[in-house]
């Protein structure tokens, strides 16, 4: 296990009182790793029109936890694994069947949620997990999970460096991309796996109700503000990370004292609103 204390010390240097406790430093570190991943994957989620897809994976977290309880496997293992499976299943259905994508996802979505509820209705004492699943709890994140997030962060970085152009090409026209030598199936499945993992961790942080927002809102903001496809990446990153930081800091203020996950999303929604105003103003100036 790598020693993360220098990082915490660095975060402790920030001139904010609320960041002095260790658990706040851990939460901030986790958010600083998670929000950029969610933001840049969100760019592709928007390009692929897959918002509903990520929502379905988020909801499968519940079934993953339930499955873990049933098979007495650590939910922190069963949840991401189950999410990846669901992601691959949906991607396969989307590629192979002639059902429209939202219908296919809607079916998988219902199945996993119903399965989770059915298991929970049998077992008792999972109300606490249910709560965490709905609202998330970034403040209880452990050191081990942060290390895993760090690994995921590296993976995402590599993925974005190699695949950004290719994924955009696939989103524009998959047939054209394939003819021109892009390995469409490979990239689509890799994307589904990575997205599933990131979504599962986002569920941890902000809860299933807000997980789609964490992906979509920064990317949608970026779409409004950016002029180029490269710029969209950076704007999404900026909006995502700044919302994560500001949301956590705000939620810890005595006068606010709100749930951190919800606050993060609210801040990023403010970003989006501002970007809409900016777009409208720019449009008027042009006209």
């Amino acid at each position: 296990m790598p020693d993360l204390s220098p990082l915490y010390a660095l975060l402790g240097l920030l001139p904010l009182d609320c960041l002095q406790p260790r658990f706040m430093q851990q939460a901030l570190l986790a958010l600083l790793l998670l929000t950029p991943m969610a933001a840049v994957l969100g760019v592709q989620v928007i390009n692929f029109r897959m918002a509903f897809f990520s929502d379905a994976i988020g909801h499968s977290a519940f079934a993953g936890v339930a499955l873990g309880l049933m098979l007495s496997v650590d939910p922190r293992l069963s949840m991401p694994l189950f999410g990846v499976l669901v992601g691959l299943a949906v991607m396969t259905v989307r590629r192979k069947s002639n059902l429209s994508a939202d219908t296919a996802i809607g079916i998988v979505f219902s199945a996993v949620v119903a399965f989770g509820l059915a298991v929970v209705s049998r077992a008792s004492g999972v109300a606490r997990d249910m709560q965490q699943f709905l609202y998330g709890d970034i403040l209880t994140i452990s050191e081990g999970e942060i290390v895993f997030l760090g690994l995921l962060f590296l993976l995402t970085l590599i993925f974005q460096a190699v695949g950004y152009n290719r994924l955009l090409s696939i989103a524009l026209n998959p047939v054209m991309a394939r003819v021109h030598g892009v390995r469409v199936a490979l990239w689509q499945y890799l994307f589904a796996i990575l997205l599933a993992l990131v979504v599962m961790f986002s569920v941890w942080a902000v809860g299933v109700l807000l997980v789609t927002a964490m992906l979509i809102v920064p990317a949608a903001t970026a779409r409004n503000l950016a002029r180029t496809a490269g710029g969209m990446f950076w704007w999404a990153l900026l909006a995502g990370v700044s919302s994560g930081f500001a949301g956590l800091a705000l939620s810890a203020q005595d006068w606010l004292a709100t749930a951190s996950g919800a606050t993060v999303i609210l801040v990023s929604c403010c970003w989006f609103a501002a970007s809409c105003v900016w777009t409208a103003l720019r449009g008027r100036r042009r006209a």
């Binding site: 152009n165 290719r166 524009l172 026209n173 054209m176 003819v179 021109h180 180029t228 490269g230």
Partner: protein, 327 residues
């Protein structure tokens, strides 16, 4: 793609490996595609001449796009497709021009970025290399829209977008360029320009071109080879031999005259809507009565079933009438 097909039939391998200029670039042999119980393509046999501009013509649902999808390996089929790359490789380098992109107008993507997507390895978020920029400019100049390189893709007009798609495909230096109704939905001018640019590029680079199009006059003008398709091949050859009134009537069911000198006799079509008035398509109130007989009997001309205009009197063909006057 049927790349692992059994050894090529001897005659075909001779055709494909011969160095003659006229050797075909692609040979479709007994190609069939079924979806459920419906035959989409049935026993298609056709050749696409190397270096030529081949146009696939046929009504909607005739299987034109399906044939292209078979060629680019997108859907399974029975039968065989033979093709060979220029340098003897197993398959020619392909370029593909789709009809549309799945973008909404708000997507921030510059034309120059789009043209570099499949070319530049460095991710777009680290910026375009100067080389990629210059290459995009060159490609755009080729399709005569060099000034658009910093425009957003969503801000392009339909005609401009089609030419950007063409430029992207040309950027892959294809040996075989496949276009799926790539110019459809563009105004007359735009469509003509598209064909013109395409023709110039083909002559310059010498690639083989296979194109689905609904624009028969432009196909007649620019194509070097035409394949008329309706489930199976109905006619193939030079535009003048294939796009005849009789063939087009057979395929589309409406009289279309591309070549004035091929209009033989009077056309038994409604002058208002062009619906064909042949023995099998008689108006409802005049069953089974050939036109001359009707006139002898002094009946009123029947109404067209499509637009209820009276059908024309069957006058003698104009060219014959003129001859008579001369005599």
């Amino acid at each position: 793609m049927n790349r692992s097909c059994p050894p090529i039939a001897k005659s075909l391998s001779v055709i494909l490996t011969s160095t003659e200029h006229a050797a075909p670039a692609i040979v479709f042999e007994g190609l069939s595609v079924r979806r459920g119980h419906t035959a989409i393509l049935a026993d298609v046999c056709a050749t696409v001449p190397r270096g030529g501009s081949t146009v696939l013509v046929g009504p909607n649902g005739a299987g034109k796009t399906t044939l292209l999808l078979c060629l680019i390996g997108e859907i399974p089929y029975t039968g065989r497709i033979f093709a060979q790359g220029r340098d003897g490789s197993a398959w020619p380098r392909l370029g593909y021009v789709p009809q549309q992109l799945q973008i909404d107008s708000g997507l921030p993507l510059l034309v120059s970025e789009f043209l570099s997507l499949e070319h530049q390895r460095r991710p777009l978020w680290l910026g375009l290399k100067a080389g990629a920029r210059a290459r995009a400019r060159r490609l755009l100049d080729l399709v005569r829209i060099g000034h658009l390189q910093n425009r957003r893709m969503g801000d392009l007009s339909g005609g401009e977008l089609r030419r950007v798609l063409l430029a992207a495909a040309l950027g892959h230096e294809p040996e075989l360029l496949v276009l799926d109704e790539a110019e459809a939905g563009v105004d007359f001018q735009g469509e003509r320009l598209f064909w013109e640019v395409l023709d110039a590029a083909r002559r310059h680079y010498g690639f083989t071109q296979l194109m689905v199009s609904h624009n028969l006059p432009l196909a007649a003008h620019y194509a070097t080879h035409v394949i008329c398709l309706n489930k199976s091949v109905r006619a193939a050859g030079s535009p003048r031999d294939t796009l005849t009134a009789a063939n087009l009537l057979d395929i589309f069911g409406v009289p279309i005259h591309l070549y004035p000198d091929q209009c033989g006799g009077a056309d038994p079509a409604c002058p208002q809507c062009g619906a064909w008035y042949g023995p099998e398509h008689l108006p409802a109130d005049q069953p089974a009565s050939p036109i001359p007989a009707r006139q002898r009997d002094g009946l009123t001309p029947p109404r067209c079933r499509e637009c209820s205009l009276h059908m024309p009197e069957a006058a003698p063909p104009e060219n014959i009438a003129r001859e008579k006057k001369h005599a």
